[in-house]
């Protein structure tokens, strides 16, 4: 080891010194845990009681009871209908709204209110929107469809607008220079750059709508959610498990199909 002089400088910092900020954060979190758990009355006892209850619950849930298949099936179909129709409208509307919300394509007087609207759609949980629509248009699938259209807009239009804002404007300029109309410019220069991402968002939202359509029924907006909720309230746990299995199967099939769509486009 010739040539290596030992380092005698006393000022070398320990490279693995623990950061005080990290320690403070961890301490704060632990403190919060202790405080909140006690303040909210969540003791270990309750947890244990709960878990012993779970044995009883599970035994009542299995085997799943598919005998009320008529009810199950109609709820399933309604959820599907809600998901499909709301995705259709949601996707098409988002295509236009997302374009209008892109600040590099539209003047601020158009893009700002549209962005505001999209933000509004995103801010509320679909269930809350569902409650409002149920009050406005009554129980049933219509409320569910309207709810999910707005939920879809909040998601797809926002991401689509962001994708458009990230494109290279150089090709747009070149197409404009050929004398193409605004619509042609959008279709030929903007869309090819963002289309794959749009398909990704759309298929994600279709999947998400499928999940949500099974949930908005809990507040009366149609679909399996309603069936599920009433089964819970009647303590029909074996029917509950049947419904849950159907929901999970539906979602898995939906995911599978959306992967195929994404690959083709």
């Amino acid at each position: 080891m010739a040539g290596l002089t030992p380092n005698t400088s006393p000022n070398r910092e320990n490279p693995f010194k623990a950061s005080w900020t990290n320690r403070l954060i961890i301490a704060a979190i632990i403190g919060y845990l202790f405080y909140s758990l006690s303040a909210l009355g969540l003791t270990f006892e309750r947890l244990v009681i709960g878990f012993s209850e779970s044995e009883r619950l599970l035994s009542r849930m299995f085997p799943p009871n598919f005998s009320r298949s008529g009810l199950l099936f109609s709820g399933l179909l309604e959820s599907l209908q809600i998901a499909i129709i709301s995705s259709l409208f949601g996707i098409v509307i988002s295509l236009f709204l997302g374009l209008m919300a892109a600040r590099n394509m539209m003047p601020a007087i158009v893009s700002t209110p549209v962005r505001g609207f999209i933000a509004l759609c995103r801010s509320f949980h679909p269930v809350i929107i569902a409650i409002l629509f149920v009050k406005a248009v009554g129980f049933g699938a219509l409320a569910g469809i309207l709810t999910l259209v707005f939920a879809s807009i909040g998601f797809i239009a926002k991401l689509f607008a962001e994708a458009i804002e990230e494109i290279s404007l150089k090709s747009v300029e070149a197409i404009r220079a050929t004398g193409a109309s605004f619509a042609c410019v959008i279709l030929y220069a903007v869309l090819p750059q963002v289309f794959t991402r749009f398909i990704g968002f759309a298929s994600y939202q279709l999947d998400s709508n499928l999940r949500n359509s099974t949930m908005v029924g809990i507040v009366g907006a149609g679909g399996l959610g309603g069936t599920l909720f009433s089964a819970f309230q009647r303590f029909d746990y074996d029917f509950v498990s049947a419904i849950l299995i159907t929901i999970i199967a539906l979602i898995l099939v939906g995911e599978f199909l959306s992967n195929i769509v994404r690959r083709v486009f």
Binding site: F16, I29, Y32, L33, S36, L37, L40, L42, R46, L47, I49, G50, F51, E53, S54, L57, L77, E78, L80, Q81, I82, I84, I85, L88, S123, F124, H125, V127, I128, I131, L132, F133, K135, A136, V137, G138, G140, A141, L142, I145, L146, R211, N212, T214, M215, I218, V219, G225, L228, F229, F232, L244, I247, I248, I251, L252, I260, V261, V264, F265
Partner: protein
């Protein structure tokens, strides 16, 4: 790439003039045959699904036309907001909701981190374990937090605990999946170096993986916390505690002014939470 057409200036006359070539109509197709068949098949499926749904869904069109009037009526009833309601009931319930979201997010880490470790192929090479972890992650995501809430209410009775557990279990899939992806994308170099020094498995995790996934980890947790704040707000609708309970009671009694106040409060809290998350993320990243 041929440059045969591009000749020296002096041979300009010999270059074939564009437009003097014989007019054989050339064909052009945008997609190959197999692509077209696939696209057509998908279009067909979509259109039939849409047509079927449209025709069979039970919707009364009159209700749709009536909707704007109904909305106007509802907004009228909501004004003016019942501001006094806030200190009365909303504030406490809001705090409860935030606690549900935070505790739920913290608890989810207990399950999500091990599952993510099991699911990441570079940490756990065993394919069966990867797959088992994947099953847990997917199932947790497939069921809505509302449905989990219903289940946990059946277990723990209505109240906070059910809400916290619902949030925790639902978030496992989200956090676990994103964390596993972040772990899988880790740069193998430093890990190999650590392994070469003979470091223990735990040390490699803490000093090799953790520094690399740390920004992604905080980002994912904050993102999920933000979503959980929204989710926690509605869990009360089925009885799992938080502001949702207040909302449910108010709307069952048709007290629209109170409902409006609750909605505004939820909206404000969600916006503030998002702002906080964005602020912290900018600090970290």
């Amino acid at each position: 790439m041929t440059t045969a057409h591009i000749n020296n200036k002096s041979h300009v006359e010999n270059i074939p003039q564009v437009g003097n070539m014989s007019h054989i109509d050339k064909e052009w197709q945008r997609f190959t045959s197999s692509e077209r068949i696939a696209r057509f098949a998908i279009y067909l499926c979509f259109v039939s699904a849409i047509v079927w749904s449209w025709q069979t869904v039970e919707v009364i069109p009159e209700f749709l036309y009536d909707a704007p009037a109904q909305f106007a009526d509802m907004f009228e009833r909501m004004m003016p907001l019942d501001y006094a309601f806030y200190p009365e009931s909303i504030h406490e319930a809001m705090v409860e909701t935030l606690n549900i979201a935070t505790l739920g997010t913290l608890f989810t880490l207990i399950f999500a981190i091990p599952l993510a470790l099991l699911n990441a192929p570079n940490i756990t090479p065993n394919k069966t374990l990867n797959w088992i972890a994947q099953v847990f992650l997917v199932s947790s995501r497939s069921v809505n937090s509302l449905v989990w809430a219903l289940l946990f209410i059946a277990l723990f009775g209505p109240g906070l605990l059910a809400g916290i557990m619902a949030i925790a279990i639902r978030s496992i899939g989200f956090v676990g999946k994103l964390l596993a992806e972040a772990l899988a994308e880790v740069n193998a170099g430093p890990i190999e170096a650590l392994r070469a020094t003979g470091a223990s498995w735990m040390s490699i995790l803490l000093k090799g993986y953790w520094p690399q996934v740390m920004p992604a980890f905080y980002s994912i947790v904050l993102f999920r916390w933000d979503i959980n704040v929204r989710e926690s707000a509605v869990l009360g609708l089925v009885g799992a505690g938080g502001i949702g309970v207040i909302l449910n009671d108010a709307q069952n009694l048709f007290e629209w002014q109170k409902v409006a106040m609750v909605l505004v409060s939820i909206f404000t809290v969600v916006i503030v939470a998002e702002a906080v998350v964005i602020h912290i993320r900018n600090k970290i990243i």
